[in-house]
Symmetry: none
Subunit: 130 residues, 4 copies
């Protein structure tokens, strides 16, 4: 399940968003799968209903899930609305963010790349990465 860490700098709703995104990235959640209900997840994580709702809203806005009213939220992975150039722009932005957070620690570049490769390899890649 999704792990909420109180000591985390990220707000709770962001941790939920990241948790779901990670499950999608790793193939644990696939296209069409139903997310746990807002109330159910709230009880399970011991947080307020609104906090989960906010996280789910964010996921909907990101286009990775879709809400079917009265039924629940469902993963909708295929979102080809972004052009390749924009994907690269997002990628570069995310990488810059990583670099500016991690390089100041004095970690050798080689280590950074290795750990990234390790994490990527641990994902059951959905399809065309084989």
């Amino acid at each position: 399940m999704i792990q909420i860490t109180t000591g985390d700098s990220r707000p709770i709703f962001k941790q939920i968003v990241d948790g779901v995104m990670l499950k999608i990235a790793s193939g644990e959640l696939n296209d069409g799968d139903k997310l746990p209900s807002v109330r159910g997840l709230a009880i399970q994580l011991m947080v307020n209903t609104n906090t989960v709702a906010k996280a789910y809203n964010e996921l909907t806005a990101l286009g990775v899930v879709e809400s079917k009213k009265g039924l629940g939220l469902f993963v909708c992975a295929p979102k080809g609305v972004l052009s390749e150039a924009e994907k690269l722009a997002k990628l570069d932005e995310a990488i810059t963010h990583l670099v500016s957070e991690v390089v100041p620690l004095g970690i050798p570049f080689q280590t950074i790349i290795e750990r990234l490769q390790t994490q990527l390899a641990s994902l059951k890649q959905p399809c065309k990465q084989d």
Copy 2:
């Protein structure tokens, strides 16, 4: 100089801290070098003076700079305040974040690694990484 991004999730003062530490890690700032004055940097970055002051306080607390009264702030010998294990933990967390943001977009793993290598290479790796 240091880049401030308004869209960044980190507060401005943290961006300044990271920016200075990045310059130290990359060898652009060396032991004994003088940091720009609080006011000067504030004007240059177009941020509030208090924000720069807070960043400089943080840097002093971290032990990477030292204040010499009436003269300014100076870089002092870089101490590894964080243990290797802590660094790796931070690194892994940051990488997980990157992965969950980028993989759902369907970007090939190879591309992610390549762009990271490109960005790291552009930093001109300092001596101690060899």
Copy 3:
């Protein structure tokens, strides 16, 4: 000012979002302009602070405004991240929405086009539309 209509089918926060977007579209709000504070607008519109905050969040997510922590929200019009093809896709989607709402009423097509032209003409177009 922004008008909130209780009889409107759209939720309040959406009305605020649309109101701000419209002001930007009409050139009444320009790049760099500051939005009214969350609390100020909430009092003025006689709604809850969170409702305004939610609207402002939405606007931030849409990329039309940017939050500078501790200072307020500012309009940031130039967002060239979308390719022309995607703009057209968004346009067509919005038009389809309009059509499916309005044509069932039996309004002559000519009238629809005329009213659209009228509304567009009433906007002080920012720049390249001259």
Copy 4:
């Protein structure tokens, strides 16, 4: 047949109502034509039977269809339940919505009008619009 879009802001039953009225407005459905059965349409659209029933109730209440017991629902003479002024008000509201969504993207006015004309033309304007 009728198109159901999950991403639409309108609930499904409203989309069905609008879809049927659109077919009537465009002349695809004429006075006396039989509507598909509740169950049949529900299966075809892959939605809940209650949803279609609700839409059909709405259409009956609007007076655009009539139920003949044991036979089904039939289109009846289109009455202008809404005054012209009300129609125009709805039209203007919908257009304002379109404008505030699309103009901030920086799309030339001419393009907007052209795409609208294209979509309207593809509907094959019925007789009474001449």
